[in-house]
């Protein structure tokens, strides 16, 4: 298993890493059991354009790099176009991922979608084609408490 130079470059110098103070939407996906958690913060303007985006990720180099790349691919886009950013697009932009790491790119797509879902809920709007997040982390997840 070897990472592309691009993956390592994004791992070493992640873009848009951090938090947003007053985000329009936040999405957290993955779980600590699998070793990957991604959180995406979106700042969306009145016209529906993604003005700013930040991420935080607990995970391997592939998880960090896919988060970083996903933020680059959605920043400046309208939410309807951001929704079309697929895991394949993230993967391709990183010059590919080792087969065992492809699920990380899926997580990046899901994190964007989860943040958009949160935004839609806050705004009381429906974003066409957006499914509710599958792997969102619930604050009161009891499985996490038993250790």
């Amino acid at each position: 298993m070897a990472y592309s130079e691009k993956v390592m470059e994004h791992f070493n110098n992640p873009r848009n890493m951090g938090e947003l103070e007053n985000p329009s939407g936040v999405g957290t996906v993955g779980n600590a059991q699998c070793g990957d958690i991604m959180r995406i913060y979106l700042d969306i303007d009145a016209d529906g354009f993604i003005h700013d985006v930040k991420f935080k990720t607990f995970g391997c180099a592939a998880a960090v790099a896919t988060s970083s790349m996903a933020t680059e691919l959605v920043i400046g886009k309208h939410i309807t176009d951001a929704l079309k950013v697929t895991n394949q697009a993230v993967c391709d932009a990183l010059d590919g991922l080792p087969a065992v790491k492809v699920h990380c790119s899926l997580l990046a797509e899901e994190a964007i979608h989860a943040a958009l879902w949160d935004y839609a809920e806050r705004e009381g709007i429906v974003i066409e084609g957006l499914e509710p997040p599958k792997h969102d982390i619930h604050e009161d997840d009891e499985d996490e408490e038993e250790y």
């Binding site: 298993m1 390592m8 791992f11 070493n12 992640p14 890493m17 938090e19 957290t28 600590a32 059991q33 699998c34 070793g35 990957d36 958690i37 991604m38 959180r39 935080k56 990720t57 607990f58 995970g59 391997c60 180099a61 592939a62 998880a63 960090v64 080792p98 065992v100 790491k101 604050e139 996490e144 250790y147």
Partner: protein, 399 residues
Amino acid sequence: MQKQIYLDNAATTAVLPEVLDAMLPYFTEQFGNPSSLYSIGSTAKDAITDARERLAAHINANATEIYFTGSGSEADNWALKATMEAYSDKGRHLVTSAIEHHAILHTAEWLEKNGYEVTYLPVDADGLVSPDDLRAAIRPDTTLVSVMMANNEIGTIQPIFELAAIAHEHGALFHTDAVQVLGHIAIDVALMGIDMLSAAAHKLHGPKGVGFLYIRKGIKTRSFIHGGGQENKRRAGTENVAGIIGMAAALDIAMANLDARAAADLALRDDLIARVLAEVPYSRLNGHRSLRLPNNANFSFEFVEGESLLLALDQLGIIASTGSACASGSLDPSHVLLAIGLPHEIAHGSLRLTVGDETTTDDIDYTIESIKQVLERLRSMSPLYEDFLQGKKPISAVK
């Protein structure tokens, strides 16, 4: 060029120049087949005989009890499969531990699929197998107990004397995987009551691709590889002559200054452990504090994932190892870290550092500073750390 600090001596070690020198003639001038009768054949055969005697002496065994293999994993496979089969009239039950190397665990799983029963002994929070658990698990049809001498990930050393004695009290044989121990701590198979022992050369500055299985005289075993008459007809195939010579040379050197090396490793390792635990917040030591291999340190750093840690340290020239799932391509983190009771997210953030003869105090200083630097970066990136700082949800109570 950036400096390189190799702290993965439990993974493998460099062949020593003296070892290489001892090996080289057997690739070229002395290339004869040990099974051939002419002179270069008998030169090779004599060299193997001599190596076998020296290796045997280092663990207080007889030369006829040493069977060369291609690896420690092969020795483990052989010990389990051939012994369980040879004694299947008596019983079909194997007892082993939950923290064995995969060479044992996957072989045990294979045995389970082939009509044998296996009990996996749990370990405590330090990674120790309890003799009482062994007593409770052992049955009249138990033919073999296999517990590793020391764990490759967390370094915990098992109470081998006691476990072997319990196996014998109940009429079972005792095998131990000593791959991490040979050349690092003295082994006396007679004193310890060991019936079979697996070892490999490359963990003690010998070559890769060669190991041995010690099988005490009188124990029934089946041939593991069928063919020629090598290894008392138990393991056919032309011998890895240079490898065997190299293994004996490496063990000679390791045993000649065993105490001094162990003391040096221990001093560096203890300094590393003490300082990491004191200086790095939200860190813990995995494995037993004192009953552990002298070169082994294994930490968990909360809120970060091990593969990221490994790669970030690699960029700074530090070579280490992790029990994170992400580094292995599977979904679960190390079975050893889960067996000692770590929750998944803590197990994912593990880092194994194993010092060696080349390690200096400067290396330890640099490593600790690098760990701090890398952790600061990775934690600033971690949503788990963010939640923790905001008091949202304690990640774990492990400390």
